[in-house]
């Protein structure tokens, strides 16, 4: 059973566009929802994270939208750049230091 479902699997956008990546979860005990960015040959890097007590969080060009009732959250990248081309993973976990559960990833390509 996949606890965090991520879509789409891949995404191509023009430079300046706003790619949106979606994730859905089932476990209502999850209360921490990070997004990671991974470049080829590198480990995942924490990008932005949200807790369910807020519906939106912005950090620079990255925004998380969170819908607790629908058990869904999404990543929006404003004014996307070719340097944003990477694989993005959503994740979730209950409170504390328990392990993260990851989605399968979205490969984003931003073309000039």
């Amino acid at each position: 059973q996949q606890q965090v479902k991520q879509s789409p699997q891949s995404l191509i956008v023009q430079k300046g566009g706003i790619p949106i990546i979606n994730c859905a979860y089932e476990n209502t005990a999850f209360d921490y929802f990070p997004w990671y960015q991974q470049f080829p040959g590198k480990g995942p890097a924490l990008l932005i994270a949200i807790r369910p007590d807020v519906s939106e969080k912005k950090e620079g060009r990255f925004t998380i939208s969170f819908n607790k009732s629908a058990k869904q959250f999404s990543l929006h990248i404003m004014d996307s750049q070719p340097g944003d081309s990477a694989t993005y993973f959503c994740a979730a976990r209950p409170s504390g230091n328990t392990p993260l559960v990851f989605g399968k990833g979205t490969r984003l390509s931003v073309i000039a």
């Binding site: 995942p44 924490l46 994270a49 230091n97 392990p99 990851f102």
Partner: protein
């Protein structure tokens, strides 16, 4: 400060051999995690340490896999009698006490031939 360090970066081994993968977490981080990432997939949890003890090893696929963290800092993931299906990138992450953020190393790419 230094991030999570994993050695070696790459390891090629023959089927049936024993391998050890090392993780040096961020200084002071009490929680340490091992994940495995297959091509085109998200990281999959293997084992989690809180201090020296394994708090959750439910992700270890079988008894050929074992991990230790004897002094609550560096951890070693040990794989016995390697199989071709063990080929993957093994990722280590650490978190500070009481915090939820997890920081990953660059991974060890294991290839079993």
């Amino acid at each position: 400060g230094a991030g999570v360090s994993q050695t070696p970066s790459n390891k090629v081994t023959e089927k049936g051999k024993y391998v050890e993968l090392r993780c040096d977490p961020i200084s002071g981080h009490t929680a340490l995690y091992w994940y495995r990432q297959s091509l085109g997939q998200g990281p999959e949890f293997l084992i989690y340490f809180q201090g020296t003890g394994a708090a959750d090893d439910s992700g270890l696929p079988n008894d050929r896999f074992f991990a230790v963290r004897p002094e609550g800092s560096v951890s070693t993931l040990k794989i016995q009698r390697t199989e071709r299906g063990d080929s993957a990138v093994y990722l280590c992450a650490s978190s500070p006490q009481g915090r939820t953020e997890a920081f990953f190393g660059q991974g060890t790419r294991l290839t079993v031939v």
